[in-house]
C-alpha cells in the first residue's frame, strides 16, 4: 500500500512538473505588444501552483525569450519562493546555487537564480556573493566588489593600494569605479579611466551640416553615404572636411563645440575604426543629450531624436556584432535651436565593451 502511494505521489509529481514545464514555455514565449499574454496569464498561475518543483524549469527558460518574457518568469519565481517561505516548504536552493555557478547559463537566468537565493535565504546569498567578483554578469559582481572596497577603506598605505587595485581590476560599474579611482589618486596612483572603461578617444569629425527646424536628423548627408576622409562637401554655409579630433576627457566625451565652434541648428559626424581580433558580440555604449544615430560598418544600429534631456555614461546599450578586423563606427549628433545655457552641449561619449561592461578594444 505504501509503495502504491509513493508511486502515485511520484507520478502525480511528475505530471505536475510536466504541466509546469509546458506552462513555463508559455511564459517564455510571450511576444511584442502583449502577444501571448492571455495564455501566459493562465500559465503563470499553473507555474506558481506547481511550487518549488517548477523553479528549475523557470530558470532554464529565463533569458531564452524577450526581456518581458523574463519578467513573467521572474515574477513566477518570486511568487513561488514567497509562497514556499510562507508555507515553510523547502526550496531547492542547492540546485538553484548550482545553476548560478554554471556560467554557461545565460546572464538573466543566473541573475534570477541569485535573486531567488537572496529572497529565500539572505545568509546563503551573502556567503555566495564574494565568489562572484569576476562573474560575467555585471550586476553579480557589484556586491563582491563593494566588499573589497569596504575592506580597502580599513587599510592604509600599500595595503590600501593593493586592495583598491584588486577592486579596480574587477569593477565595472561607473559609481564604484569613480570611488576607487578617487581613493587611488589620494594614494598617488593614477587610473586611466578611458582605458578602463574602453572609451573611443580618437575620431575624425566633419560638420556642420544643417539642422534647421531639426530636419537634419532625418536628412541623409554625404557621410551617411560614404566615409572618405579626404572628401569635401557642402556644409551649412561653408565647405566642410574631415578633421582628426582626440578627446581628452576622462569619460571619452567628444565635444563638437571644440573642433567646429559653438553653433546651433547643426549636425556633425564622427567616425572611427575599431579592430577586433575575432568576430564577436559586443555592445556600443553611448551617452548623448543630442539627437543621434550610430552606424556600425554602414548599418544603422539605432537613433534617437531627443534633445537636452540629459546624458550619462552607458545611457544607451547598443548590442552589435563586430566582424574580425577593422570595424567602422559612425556617429551623427544634432544640435537644436534652444538657447538656454543648459543646451550648449553638443557631444557624445562611446565605449566598446562586452555585456559585462568590460572594455574590449584598443582604438586607432
Amino acid at each position: 500500500m505504501k509503495l502504491l502511494l509513493a508511486t502515485f505521489l511520484l507520478v502525480s509529481h511528475s505530471i505536475v512538473r510536466g504541466a509546469a514545464v509546458d506552462s513555463v514555455q508559455v511564459l517564455a514565449s510571450v511576444g511584442r505588444e502583449g502577444s501571448g499574454n492571455e495564455a501566459a496569464s493562465a500559465a503563470w498561475k499553473e507555474v506558481v501552483k506547481a511550487g518549488p518543483a517548477a523553479l528549475p524549469a523557470v530558470l532554464a527558460a529565463t533569458g531564452k525569450g524577450s526581456a518581458v518574457a523574463d519578467n513573467w518568469l521572474r515574477l513566477a519565481g518570486d511568487a513561488i519562493v514567497d509562497g514556499a517561505l510562507r508555507a515553510k516548504r523547502p526550496l531547492p536552493l542547492v540546485e538553484v546555487e548550482a545553476f548560478l555557478r554554471d556560467t554557461s547559463h545565460v546572464d538573466a537566468a543566473r541573475q534570477l537564480a541569485f535573486d531567488l537565493i537572496r529572497q529565500a535565504d539572505a545568509v546563503r546569498a551573502d556567503a555566495i556573493e564574494p565568489s562572484l567578483i569576476a562573474d560575467p554578469v555585471q550586476e553579480l559582481r557589484r556586491g563582491a566588489v563593494q566588499r573589497v572596497i569596504d575592506a580597502a577603506k580599513t587599510k592604509t598605505g600599500d595595503a590600501a593600494k593593493a586592495a583598491y587595485q584588486q577592486a579596480l581590476d574587477a569593477v565595472r560599474d561607473e559609481d564604484q569605479t569613480n570611488f576607487i579611482a578617487a581613493e587611488l589618486k589620494k594614494l598617488n596612483v593614477s587610473v586611466d579611466l578611458p582605458r578602463h572603461f574602453g572609451f573611443v578617444m580618437k575620431w575624425n569629425v566633419i560638420g556642420p551640416f544643417d539642422n534647421t527646424e531639426r530636419k537634419g536628423f532625418d536628412t541623409v548627408f554625404p557621410p551617411e553615404k560614404e566615409v572618405r576622409l579626404d572628401a569635401e562637401y557642402d556644409g551649412k554655409g561653408a565647405k566642410v572636411k574631415w578633421q582628426p579630433f582626440e578627446s581628452r576627457d576622462d569619460y571619452g566625451k567628444l565635444d563638437f563645440n571644440k573642433p567646429l565652434g559653438m553653433q546651433k541648428e547643426v549636425t556633425a559626424y564622427a567616425v572611427t575604426t575599431i579592430d577586433s581580433p575575432t568576430e564577436r558580440d559586443a555592445e556600443l555604449r553611448l551617452g548623448c543629450k543630442n539627437a543621434w544615430k550610430v552606424w556600425l560598418n554602414g548599418e544603422l544600429i539605432f537613433g534617437r531624436d531627443e534633445y537636452h534631456r540629459g546624458q550619462q555614461m552607458d545611457q544607451y546599450k547598443l548590442k552589435c556584432r563586430l566582424r574580425k578586423g577593422a570595424n567602422t563606427v559612425l556617429v551623427k549628433a544634432c544640435q537644436n535651436e534652444q538657447k538656454e545655457q543648459w543646451t550648449v552641449e553638443w557631444e557624445f561619449q562611446l565605449r566598446v565593451c562586452d555585456s559585462t561592461g568590460t572594455a574590449l578594444l584598443a582604438t586607432k
Binding site: S41, A67, N71, A79, D175, F302, E306, Y307, Q312
Partner: protein, 401 residues
C-alpha cells in the same frame, strides 16, 4: 441602457468608500468625499520601503499599494502591498526594467502612481514597464512598452500616472521621440488602441470627464497643444481644446467642467459632435507651476513656485484669498471636508482650514526625513477615511488624529 451594459458598468469599478485608487484620488481632483482630515495630524505608523519613488500610495479596501525602484540603475521595480491598518507587508513582487532607467536625479523610476479598478492593481514605471496584479499579488499580465516601441522614453524620466476606466488602462507614454497614448485591455494588457501624440515630453496624467452624472465617461489627455477627449473603449477623439496646456500640472474635472492649467487656468465645458469647447472663464493671474490643482468647497486651489496658495472661484474664476505656506512644493495638495493638506519637499505637512473668508494654517507636522540621503517628499499624499498616507524614497507613513 441594457442590463448587459449596466452589468459591465457595475463591474468596471468595484472600489468602495475609503478607496484612493489612483493619482489624486477617486476623481483625480485631490479630494476624497468621504474622508476626514485631522487639524493636527500625527504619525500613526511607518514602514521602510525597499526602493525609491515619488508615486503616491493607493488604497483599495484594507490594502495600501506602493511602487518603488531600486538597484544601482533603478532597474529593480517593486510593487508592495501593505495592510492599511498597521503597515504590515502583505506581499511584494519584483520585476526588472526592460526600458531605460535614466532619470533626473530628483525624480526616480517609480514616479507614476499605480491605479486600481477595485479588483486589479496596475503599476507603471518610468521605464515604461507596466504590470497588472490581482489584489493578492498574482500576476495577470506585464508588458514592456519600450520593448514594443524602442524610442518611447524620456532621459529626464517619465511620470504620467495610468488611469483605469472601464475595461481600458490608459497609459500616456509621451516624449520627444516616439510618442503615444495607449489604451490597454485591462484583462490582457494588449492594445485596444494606440494614439500617435505630439513629439514632446509630457508628464501630465489622464483624467476622466463626464458631461453629467449619467453620461458615459471620457478620457481626457493633456499636452502642450491642449486637451483631447477620448472614448476609452475605442480611442476615438471626441473633442479637442487647442489653446495649449501645461506638460506638468494635470487638469481636474468636476460637474461637467474641466479646469485646465492652460494660460493660467481655464475652465471649459466640452461639447459633443466635434464642436469647440465652451470657455467659461480664464484666470491668468494664477500660475499652475508644476503641481496639479485641488478643487474643493467651490474653489480651485493652486500652489505656485513661491509656495503661495492661490484660490479662484470655480464658477467665475475670480481670484480669492492667498496664503503663503512654507515651500518648496512638488506634491500636489489634497483635501477633505474643509481642510487642505500640502506637504513640502522638506517633509513639512501643512493643514489649512479653508472654511472661512481667508485660509488659516491650523496644523503642521514635520516628518522625519533621512538627512543622510537628503530625501525629499515629492509624492502627493493619499487620503482614506481619517488617514493620510505619504511616502518618500525610504518610508511610507500613515498619519491621523
Amino acid at each position: 441602457m441594457t442590463a448587459q451594459t449596466l452589468a459591465a458598468l457595475a463591474l468596471s469599478f468595484t472600489a468602495v468608500a475609503g478607496d484612493w485608487p489612483q493619482f489624486r484620488g477617486p476623481n483625480s481632483s485631490g479630494v476624497a468625499a468621504d474622508a476626514t482630515m485631522a487639524a493636527q495630524p500625527k504619525i500613526q505608523w511607518s514602514v521602510s520601503l525597499p526602493g525609491r519613488g515619488l508615486a503616491s500610495p493607493i488604497i483599495v479596501g484594507t490594502k495600501v499599494f506602493v511602487s518603488c525602484s531600486s538597484g544601482p540603475k533603478q532597474e529593480r521595480l517593486h510593487l508592495i502591498c501593505f495592510n492599511a491598518a498597521d503597515g504590515a507587508k502583505v506581499w511584494e513582487r519584483q520585476l526588472r526594467a526592460t526600458g531605460r532607467t535614466m532619470s533626473h536625479p530628483k525624480t526616480s523610476i517609480a514616479a507614476c502612481t499605480p491605479c486600481s479598478d477595485g479588483r486589479r492593481v496596475f503599476a507603471l514605471w518610468s521605464c515604461n514597464d507596466v504590470a497588472a496584479f490581482d489584489l493578492d499579488g498574482n500576476l495577470l499580465w506585464t508588458r514592456g512598452l519600450t520593448t514594443d516601441y524602442p524610442n518611447v522614453s524620456n532621459s529626464l524620466g517619465m511620470a504620467s500616472s495610468p488611469l483605469v476606466i472601464g475595461e481600458t488602462l490608459v497609459t500616456m507614454v509621451e516624449n520627444d521621440s516616439e510618442s503615444y497614448t495607449l489604451g490597454l485591455d485591462v484583462k490582457t494588457g494588449c492594445n485596444l488602441w494606440k494614439l500617435d501624440r505630439p513629439k514632446a515630453a509630457n508628464w501630465t496624467s489622464p483624467i476622466v470627464w463626464r458631461a453629467n452624472a449619467e453620461a458615459a465617461p471620457v478620457v481626457v489627455i493633456q499636452g502642450s497643444k491642449g486637451l483631447t477627449g477620448i472614448d476609452p473603449a475605442s480611442g476615438s477623439k471626441l473633442w479637442e481644446y487647442t489653446d495649449g496646456a501645461s506638460t506638468t500640472s494635470s487638469s481636474t474635472a468636476i460637474g461637467g467642467v474641466i479646469y485646465a492649467p492652460s494660460n493660467g487656468f481655464t475652465a471649459f465645458r466640452p461639447k459633443g459632435s466635434g464642436a469647440a469647447p465652451e470657455q467659461l472663464w480664464r484666470q491668468k493671474a494664477i500660475s499652475p507651476a508644476t503641481i496639479s490643482p485641488l478643487l474643493l468647497g467651490g474653489k480651485l486651489f493652486s500652489i505656485n513656485n513661491a509656495g503661495v496658495i492661490a484660490t479662484a472661484d470655480l464658477k467665475t474664476g475670480e481670484p480669492g484669498w492667498k496664503l503663503r505656506l512654507t515651500g518648496p512644493f512638488s506634491a500636489s495638495p489634497v483635501g477633505a471636508g474643509q481642510r487642505l493638506l500640502a506637504v513640502n519637499e522638506k517633509g513639512l505637512m501643512q493643514v489649512v482650514d479653508i472654511s472661512g473668508a481667508e485660509g488659516v494654517l491650523t496644523g503642521q507636522l514635520q516628518l522625519p526625513l533621512k538627512e543622510e540621503t537628503k530625501e525629499m517628499i515629492l509624492s502627493t499624499p493619499s487620503l482614506s477615511g481619517a488617514h493620510v498616507f505619504v511616502r518618500t524614497d525610504s518610508t511610507l507613513w500613515r498619519l491621523g488624529e
